[in-house]
């Protein structure tokens, strides 16, 4: 088993990068422990430590002639050597040869949540979508499940109005003579206010095209439906 490493220092934190190679003929379970006098800050996914890591180190499964790279941070000054192999066990034939070893001492409910957070895609809406969201003073409150569009048209109208204002301004500035351009810039409250106009209008165009395609597709689907509500009410 070959273990090599590099240690970088970033402020009060040491960043440890390790490479492990299994020169043995069979798969092995290897326990690697930190020699720092501080808890390991393991790699995380969605805020949850990656499988196999704990405060002292990591347990890995590694197949014959395989290499595995990993790393961690630790809030302490570098020590030499930073890591050591604490244990090597042969892996049973019914266990998968590669990958990491799940920590089995987790409380089951907790670990299922951790598994979901770690293994599934991030749930958070992209920041771009959030920044584009119209911020109202009131956090909805009465958005009715029956009329989800009740909040919709207003927001859509406002968005269209904002886009229209930007496009108007961009049109005024397109091939404008000096006087028109000066007026437009004065209207906008200075050149700084127009700094990202080009980008925003380009983004508007892209979004408008996407909305238009989606709206057309939805309109087609809406026109094709024929829900037999009356018949159902009679039967109910």
């Amino acid at each position: 088993m070959d273990l090599s490493w590099t240690v970088d220092r970033a402020g009060d934190v040491s960043l440890v990068r390790c490479r492990l190679r299994n020169g043995d003929a069979g798969p092995r379970r290897v326990r690697i422990e930190s020699r720092f006098d501080a808890p390991v800050l393991p790699p995380r996914r969605a805020g949850v430590p990656v499988d196999g890591w704990d405060a002292d180190g990591v347990t890995l499964r590694i197949g014959p002639e395989e290499r595995h790279g990993f790393g961690f941070a630790v809030p302490a000054r570098p020590v030499e050597p930073p890591v050591e192999i604490a244990e090597i066990d042969p892996v049973g034939p019914d266990e998968p040869a590669g990958g990491v070893v799940g920590s089995s001492d987790d409380e089951p409910g907790e670990s299922a949540v951790a598994t979901a957070l770690r293994d599934l895609g991030d749930h958070r809406p992209p920041r771009a979508a959030v920044d584009g969201e119209r911020v109202t003073g009131e956090d909805n409150g009465d958005c009715d499940a029956d009329e989800p569009e009740s909040a919709g048209p207003d927001a859509v109208d406002d968005w269209f109005a904002a886009v229209e204002a930007r496009v108007d301004r961009a049109e005024q500035l397109t091939d404008a003579d000096v006087a028109t351009a000066t007026d437009a810039v004065a209207d906008a409250g200075g050149v700084d206010a127009l700094a990202d106009l080009d980008e925003r209008v380009a983004a508007d165009a892209e979004r408008l095209r996407a909305v238009s395609e989606r709206a057309a597709a939805l309109a087609e689907r809406a026109a094709a439906t024929d829900a037999p509500i009356e018949a159902l009410e009679r039967l109910a």
């Binding site: 969605a46 805020g47 949850v48 089951p108 409910g109 907790e110 299922a112 949540v113 951790a114 598994t115 979901a116 957070l117 293994d119 599934l120 895609g121 991030d122 749930h123 958070r124 809406p125 920041r127 979508a129 959030v130 969201e133 911020v135 956090d139 909805n140 409150g141 009465d142 958005c143 009715d144 499940a145 029956d146 009329e147 989800p148 909040a151 037999p228 509500i229 159902l232 009410e233 109910a236």
Partner: protein, 216 residues
Amino acid sequence: MILAVAGGKGGVGKTTLAYNVAAALDAVAVDADLGMADLPGGRGPDLHDVLAGRADPTEIVRAGPVDVAPCGRTLAGARACDLSALGDAIAAIERERGVVVLDCPAGRRADAGVPLAVADACLLVVSPRAFALADAIRTRELARELDAGLVGCAVNRVTEEPPTEAVADALGAPAAVIPADPRVGRSVAAERPVVDAAPDSDAAGAIQNLAERVPR
């Protein structure tokens, strides 16, 4: 008892089923669809606030024909949610109120997985269309990985004889048929669960049957 109502696909009627099953179980319906809340909202703190550490889980439960823990409607609120706090929040509501029904989001991202991980059991909703079944099967796999036992599945909004057996075979759980009934569709917005509004209807009977499969 924490029951997740899931289904993978959007628009199959998860929210409606969750609301009506919660009524039949006399449970609190929690809107766990962080990005696209559908259960009745209300003034005051909601699940976004709880998952951002701004509110207590039990204070967001709003009394009604079915008690509801509403969810915020903003993307910014959804983005600020710490999903790892969902387990404790739901457990707190369960301790106080007994049975909790989670209305889960569509998809297979963490916001769909964590409620399944938090739940003791799950109920899958499919529409009678084949592609909805595909999503439901994926969600069933996810629920299995996350230890949420499947108590049943609902074939929702059925207008003609559905392939119930095929659905039950594919999902490996008894399938209940919920006939299309406008009173079910309206129940969430009107806050009139069909088991109260039309207790003798076929839809109410089907929902009662589903509720009876939920271990308590």
